[in-house]
C-alpha cells in the first residue's frame, strides 16, 4: 500500500491458534497487514503457511486469538454475529477455490443472492446480476445452474457474486487452483480488469506465480508469519 494511504482493511498483530486433538497448531502469529482502496495484493506461501487463515480473519469469517481486524476504520472485535454478517454482506466479497455456488440457484440467482440479502427488490437484483454476468462474459449463461457450467464459468459467476454489493475488498482464496492454465489466466485477467475499472481491492491467496506476477504487490507467509520483503 502506498505510504500515507488510508487502509480500508487491516490486521494488526494477528494471531490464531487451532486445537487439533491434543495438539495446539499456531496458524498465524504477529501478522500486520493493510489493504488500501484499489489494492491488488497476492498472498503467497507454501501450504500450511497461514494464507487461508489470514484470508478468513480479514474476511470476518473467523476471530483472531490475538490482535484485531479493522474494516473501514472500525475495529470489528466488539461486533456481534449479525453485525459481522452485515459487514461481510455489504463491504466484502468472497471467491473460493471450489467456487461454492448454491447448486439449486441459477447463475443470475447466485449473483443476485447477496443483493437480496441487502433488501434490494428481486427484479432490480436480477437486472443488476445479469449486468454483472455480462461483465464477466457470462450473459448468455445467466439462467444456467452451476452443474451446467464449466469450472471457469463457475468461477466467473463467483467473481460476479463477490462484486454484487459493490464491496470495498474482494478476498479470494486460491481462485485459480482448480482451473486449467488458460482458464486461470482468464480469471486472473478478469480480476485485474475489475480491480482497475471499479477500484475494488483484491486480496488473493495463491500458489500460482502468475497471480503473484500480475498483482500490484505481494506478501509472503511462512509458518504463520509474514516474511519481510527482500
Amino acid at each position: 500500500m502506498p505510504p500515507g494511504a488510508v487502509p480500508i482493511l487491516s490486521g494488526r498483530n494477528l494471531g490464531r491458534t487451532y486445537t487439533l486433538g491434543a495438539t495446539q497448531v499456531r496458524a498465524l502469529a504477529g501478522v500486520d497487514i493493510e489493504i488500501g482502496a484499489g489494492d491488488f495484493l497476492a498472498l503467497q506461501g507454501p501450504s500450511g503457511s497461514g494464507k487461508t487463515t489470514l484470508i478468513n480473519l480479514l474476511g470476518l469469517l473467523d476471530v483472531p486469538d490475538e490482535g484485531e481486524v479493522v474494516l473501514d476504520g472500525r475495529p470489528v472485535a466488539a461486533l456481534d454475529e449479525e453485525s459481522l454478517a452485515d459487514m461481510r454482506r455489504d463491504r466484502l466479497g468472497f471467491v473460493f477455490q471450489t467456487f461454492s455456488l448454491v447448486p439449486v440457484l441459477t447463475a443470475a440467482e447466485n449473483v443476485a443472492w447477496p443483493m437480496s440479502l441487502r433488501g434490494l427488490r428481486e427484479s432490480e437484483a436480477r437486472t443488476r446480476a445479469r449486468a454483472l454476468l455480462e461483465r464477466v462474459g457470462l450473459g448468455a449463461r445467466a439462467d444456467a445452474r452451476p452443474d451446467r457450467l464449466s469450472g471457469g464459468e463457475r468461477q466467473r459467476v463467483a467473481i460476479a457474486r463477490a462484486l454484487a454489493n459493490e464491496p470495498r475488498v474482494v478476498l479470494a482464496d486460491e481462485p485459480t487452483a482448480n482451473l486449467d492454465s488458460v482458464t486461470a489466466s482468464e480469471i486472473l485477467d478478469l480480476m485485474r480488469a475489475l480491480n482497475e475499472e471499479r477500484g475494488v481491492a483484491f486480496v488473493v491467496a495463491t500458489h500460482d506465480p502468475r497471480v503473484v506476477a500480475g498483482a500490484r504487490r505481494s506478501a509472503t507467509l511462512r509458518d504463520g508469519r509474514l516474511v519481510p520483503a527482500a
Binding site: L61, P103, L105, W113, P114
Partner: protein, 408 residues
Amino acid sequence: MSPWSIALRNVTRNPRRSVLTGCVVTFGFCAFALAGGFMSQSLEGLRDGTIRGGIGHLQFADPAAFAEGAATTAGGGLTDAPGIAAILAADPAVAEVLPRLEFTGLVAAGDRSVPFLGTGLDPAAEARVMDAPRLVVEGAWLGARSDRALVLGTGLAAALSVRVGDTVTLMTTTRDGTLNAVDAPVAGLARVPFRELNDRYLATTLDLAADLLANRDGASKIVVVLKDGRGAPAALPRLLGSLAAGGHAIAGWTWIDLAPFYRQVRTLYLGIFGFMGALLVVMVLLASANTMMMAVGERVREIGTLRALGTRARFIRRLFLAEGLVLGIGGCLAGALLSLVVRFALNHSGIVLPPPPGGVEGSVLHVRIYAAAYGAGALAMILTLAAASWLPARRATRLRIVEALAHV
C-alpha cells in the same frame, strides 16, 4: 427469492431421498387418519347404540330414582306422566317423549315361573326412535299402546318354554302392595344384546303395565329423544325449568350421565389410540430426522458459503424449516389421498367386526372420514417434519463459518 421456492428446489435436488421421507409422512398420516376414523366410527356407533338402546338423550324421573344407592327406577315415581310428557313435547328441540313404567315380578307359564324385568312403554313411539323393536327375531313388536301383549327376551322365553302366541301370567305388586296378576299373549321374542338382560327382558304396553300396577297416570321415568343429540347438555336445564314452571319438581340427566360403560370405553379408546399416535409420531420423527440430518450434513459447506456471504443463521434455519414443511405438507396430501383409497377398499371389503363386550352381533367395518383425525394427523406430521428439519439445521448453523467451509 422466497424460502419456499428454494425449499421446493432443494426437495427435488435429491428425489429418491425426498420420496422416501415423503413416503414415511404419507403412511404416517394415512395411519393417523384411518385409525382416527375407525375410532370415531366405533365410538359413534357405541354412542348411538347406547342412546337408541333405550337410554335416549335425556331422562326425567323422581329425584330419588337415580340417587346413589337406588337399585332401580322401577315403580311409578312420577304421578302425572301425561302432564310432564306434554310439557316436554312442547319444546321445539324434542323429537320424541317416551314414558316408561318399569316393574319387576314373576312371569309364569305352566308349572314354571321366572323373575323378569318389565317395562311398559308406548310401542309406536319406541319403534320410531329406539332399537328395541329391531331386536325382535320372532313374532312381532307390540302394536298400539292399548294392546295387551308382551315381547319376551329369547332367554326368558326359553326358560319358560314359551313361543310366540302362547299366553303367560305376569305377577307383581301394585303401588299399595297388593298382589296382582294378568294374563297376556306373547307377541314376539327379542334377542337382547346382553345375556343377563336377555334372560329377564319383558316389554309390554303402557296400558297393560298400568293395569297390572294399578297406576294409571304414573311413570318410572320419561325418556326424551332430541332432534339433535348434541344439544342435550343445553336442553336439560331448559326442560327442567319448564317442568318446574309447570309445578313438576323432578330431576333430569343427560345420556352420558347414565352411560358409564360408554365413558369407560371412550377412555380406553382414547388411551389406546393416543398411545398408538404417539408411537407413530416417534417413528416418523426418527425416520424423517435421519434423512433430514443427511440432507443438512451434505450441505454444511453450502451453509458455510451462505453465511460467509452474509446470510443470517436464522434465515438458513428457515430455509431448512421450509424444506421440512414442504415435505410434510406434500406427504400429508399424498397421505390423505392414500387414506381415501384404503378407506374405500376397507369399506367395500365386507369385513365384519366382532361384537362389543356384552353384544351379540358384530358390525360391518366402516371407516368414516373424521375431519379431526385428518387435522390432527396433518398437524402431527407437519410439526414432526418441522422439528426433524429445524434441529439439524440449528446444529449446522452453530458451526463456525470456517469449519463449515472446510467441511468435507
